[in-house]
Symmetry: C2
DNA sequence: CGAGATTTTGAAACCATTCAAGCGAGGTGG
DNA sequence: CCACCTCGCTTGAATGGTTTCAAAATCTCG
């Protein structure tokens, strides 16, 4: 059975170098995170773990973060990848239902829930934004369900590449920090199928894979059409 | 291609017989819905439709409700079934991303979002409850993802039956108001596979199906074990 | 009872998985 | 510097579970 193996040797977040951040302004879907502090994580470092107390809200400043759960049968379900500007770690109860790890060196802004709750109680706009963030997560989860429900391996992989390209804001040249196993656990495929599918897309000329984690989108329209 | 065909003839909600409801109290995950009104829907009636303005929040008083989306490829994805006491129709933007229909005669409490937002702005506990409801939906969606990710048809159907039994609060005798197509669209299987799987479970003595929508759980432990 | 819809069953086809082996880059030690 | 090892990725062949297409059986309701 698969188990994620991460070297935890260099997985220690910078402890002392925390510095408050001044948010000049914050839009509709942004919180006044000047409450929070930025923490730095090394590649593979755990930001929080499944079952831990959930007393913070997180926002990616730079780098990539993956959130995942270990299911009862031992499988790993990657719930999502988070890029700069995106929030994660929003939970209902007192404990995290998922774990979060830095895919590469990452900076993450961390806000205490208590501080946020206090602020939300005083400011309706903050409460409304919190609510909106939760709902956005809900929508992403529903998209995930739709993706898993009846898509072929090809459609899943193509959709994944387009989604990543859009969120990373690149036109063609994708630098993906996650492994094939990460993709497989997100798309609910096996790593062999992911690899095979990528090879097939390359053979069809839709993409090019100079290095395994560097994927160039050669024909976006065909990829988009593939996802319908 | 499948298309849901519902007779919309008798699908008109009672128009005038709206009456305010007095909520004696409301717990942690309940809203003071005395703001709302109870509306009655006939079998198959649409409570709201995909794309419509989302200016209300809904709570099932009696009966069953299904929420679903029509995907780009024309398939129908049932997002969930909602029983008495459960909320649905929580959306982020201005429009519903899903449709909701009554599976049978159903009573639904309806609250205007504007009223709720006003209340939430004044009362922190209401805002917090709204937030919690959103997160609960998020968790359910994540469970849905986990279910779809690597479960066999057998595990899905068994898990579905147990979930329904638990939520309907029955020990053995399940009265399911939804069709095989509804189950299939929720579990992401075909109706043939759902039917075959139920027959198989019956052959193994785990369940009994006196009538197609009446399922008796004969061996809960074996069913639970099946889902791990 | 009869007509239409829903559900069940059967057989063949398909797609992803599984098991197994080969490839290639990065790192260590001789 | 090269041999060697490891780890992640790729490729191949066989298996198996779900889907698809087809048809029979059952239920519901006028």
């Amino acid at each position: 059975m698969y188990a994620a193996k991460i070297d935890t040797a260099n997985a220690v977040p910078f402890p002392a170098a925390l510095f408050p951040v001044r948010a000049a302004s914050f839009g509709d879907d942004d919180l006044p995170m000047d409450l929070g502090q930025v923490m730095h994580f090394a590649r593979g470092a755990e930001i929080f773990g499944q079952g831990e107390k959930a007393d913070c809200l997180y926002k990616v400043v730079s780098g990539w973060v993956r959130t995942y759960r270990i299911l009862r049968d031992g499988r790993r379900q990657v719930e999502g990848f988070h890029l700069a500007g995106e929030y994660f770690g929003i939970e209902a109860g007192g404990s995290h239902r998922a774990s979060a790890e830095a895919l590469g060196p990452a900076a993450v802004q961390v806000v205490r829930r208590t501080a946020l709750n206090d602020l939300a109680a005083r400011r309706g706009d903050v409460a409304a934004t919190l609510f909106r963030l939760a709902i956005q997560g809900l929508e992403r989860a529903h998209e995930h369900v739709a993706m898993l429900s009846h898509k072929t391996a090809c459609e899943r992989v193509a959709g994944f590449l387009l989604d990543m390209a859009e969120r990373a804001d690149v036109r063609t040249g994708l630098e993906l920090p996650m492994s094939r196993q990460d993709m497989a656990d997100y798309l609910s495929l096996t790593i062999e199928t992911v690899s095979r599918t990528l090879s097939q897309l390359q053979a069809e000329g839709l993409i090019e894979i100079p290095k395994s984690r560097n994927i160039i989108l050669r024909n976006r329209e065909a990829l988009e059409e593939m996802c319908e």
